[in-house]
Symmetry: C2
Subunit: 334 residues, 2 copies
């Protein structure tokens, strides 16, 4: 394997100067056609591939963008990542993916690496909002928050209205005749969980005739949902809630599974509404009603805001808030 040829060797072979080769690569319209053909032939013959670090060094910025998420294994982030990638690719940018596992130390070290790489910007669902992010901004690297609103003086952000989502779910259940609703979710310290609960609580309070109770969980995964479902099933028929609203679909799937196991019918005995509308919600044995978040859209928009910030000279930070949408399926219809 021969050493990678550089632009000088291409110039030599084509009988032109390096400047011309560079022009062929970057502004081909400036170069006369016969010359351009000769250069392209030389490039093909040598198998020349532009060295991006040299280009970057000269130009000052890279062609990558950092995406920092809590966990790619969560389908929610996966879909966001798809949106980001699609938009980035359209603009010739590559995406560097980082998982933080909700660990501030991992978050910090990833951000340091991204700063060294001079990424065009960072899209992040932050844990430790202020530590490194301020530093990044000071270094001139734009930051866009997603799934959480930031300070509009400092950065752009994209989120979904979780309070509205909670209201949608509760309204649907009340209109379907449910009077005792159980909210399953936690930890409450997560903004999303808290706001979804508050939205539901608001609607229930306004109605007057219904009541909302809470069953806290320690995590937002299927196992925690199963545990919650077991607790619900253990209550005995007369103290069952008539409907359960879960803080996300993973919980809802767990609850569904535990209730079915215990011989309870969904939605006959207990209705269930989840949140996120991940693909598996529709694929559950009893298809789950769920509050849909425009996940890919979230990712695309975040990426677009970032690109806007890098190109506009008089950029004003924006906050985009999407509205969730209720998708009613079998788990909440009688």
């Amino acid at each position: 394997m021969a050493a990678a040829p550089n632009i000088r060797e291409v110039a030599l072979l084509a009988g032109v100067s390096v400047g011309t080769v560079s022009n062929v690569l970057n502004r081909p319209e400036l170069v006369a056609e016969p010359t351009r053909d000769r250069v392209n032939a030389a490039i093909a013959e040598l198998g020349f591939v532009r060295n991006d670090s040299a280009r970057q060094l000269r130009v000052g910025r890279s062609r990558t963008l950092g995406l920092v998420v809590l966990d790619v294994a969560n389908p929610f982030f996966t879909d966001v990542a798809r949106g980001v990638e699609d938009t980035a690719n359209q603009h010739g940018l590559a995406v560097i993916l980082c998982n933080t596992d909700e660990d501030p130390a991992k978050e910090a070290s990833h951000l340091d690496l991204l700063a060294e790489m001079r990424v065009q910007g960072v899209l992040i669902n932050p844990i430790d909002t202020d530590g490194r992010l301020t530093a990044l901004r000071e270094r001139g690297i734009p930051v866009v928050l997603f799934d959480r609103l930031g300070d509009p003086a400092l950065e752009c952000s994209v989120a979904v209205d979780d309070t509205l989502g909670g209201r949608l779910a509760a309204t649907h259940l009340i209109e379907s005749g449910h009077r005792s609703i159980l909210f399953v979710g936690g930890p409450r310290s997560l903004r999303q969980v808290q706001e979804r609960y508050e939205g539901a609580a608001e609607v229930v309070a306004a109605d007057g005739s219904a009541e909302l109770t809470v069953l806290p969980t320690t995590a937002l995964n299927v196992a925690a949902g199963r545990a919650a479902g077991d607790q619900i099933a253990a209550r005995g028929r007369d103290t069952l809630p008539s409907a359960v609203f879960c803080a996300n679909d993973l919980l809802a799937l767990g609850v569904l599974q535990a209730l079915t196991h215990a011989g309870l019918r969904v939605p006959g005995d207990v209705a269930i509404v989840g949140y996120d509308d991940i693909d598996f919600a529709a694929a559950a044995a009893v298809p789950l009603s769920s509050v849909r978040q425009p996940r890919q859209q979230l990712g695309r928009t975040a990426a677009e805001l970032l690109l806007a910030e890098t190109t506009e000279d008089d950029h004003e930070h924006r906050q985009v808030v999407f509205e969730p949408e209720l998708v009613v399926r079998e788990s909440s219809t009688r």
Copy 2:
């Protein structure tokens, strides 16, 4: 936001030469302690961040690694990606994620970009095996295939023994007393699908008393599974297979849903075995039996092979084949 300070300004402030600053950054043990402290203080004061492209240009290789998958939205690839990322991070490398959507043109353009970035190597589940990959190798960029074996003369590869997986599933079903087994999966052009089928067919043929039929699908997702399930349910009780073996869990979830819908009991009327053991398999309303692939392990191993190839001077390409494992759950036990 001030322009990013460079190593020269740090040197000036600390009263040393640029060479010394570089040594503090890369081989601190060569620098006397008081000098080192002065330099570190200057770095902190200026908020200096090393410019990785300059470093890369000089050193010749980057600190990133490319991961090219068919679709991040598939939980299988997500878990592989986690494994890759964990290993890469341990070695101070960042991961650039690319989706190909099974489109050779997207694959090619991603590989071109990765080549320009001079990534340390590429991990790929290739569609178009030979086109660009040969070119990459010629440019000296190591390639590791995963979920598919390559030519051991050319590259390392990591895969799971899909024939064995098929044998495990069929053996389990036959031993549970099933005599008419239906294989659901497609397109047959996918190596994985074909081998899983062949493994099952082998066992069935050896047994003699059982029979294996095939219901082809055009894709490996939940919707295709539902369609297949509807077809099966339409057959009428006496011609039902007693067990269904699906080429992956997404199909199995779809089949499960359609059968349940049609009033058939799983596993009472029809048993189901899936493949992959994605997290949602255990969480289905009837927990799915499935053939588990060591997904994170696959990713970690692929990354390790790549690192080995970049560090060892007398590297020999290896092929690692993992053994899948059958996880029996409710969907196939009476």
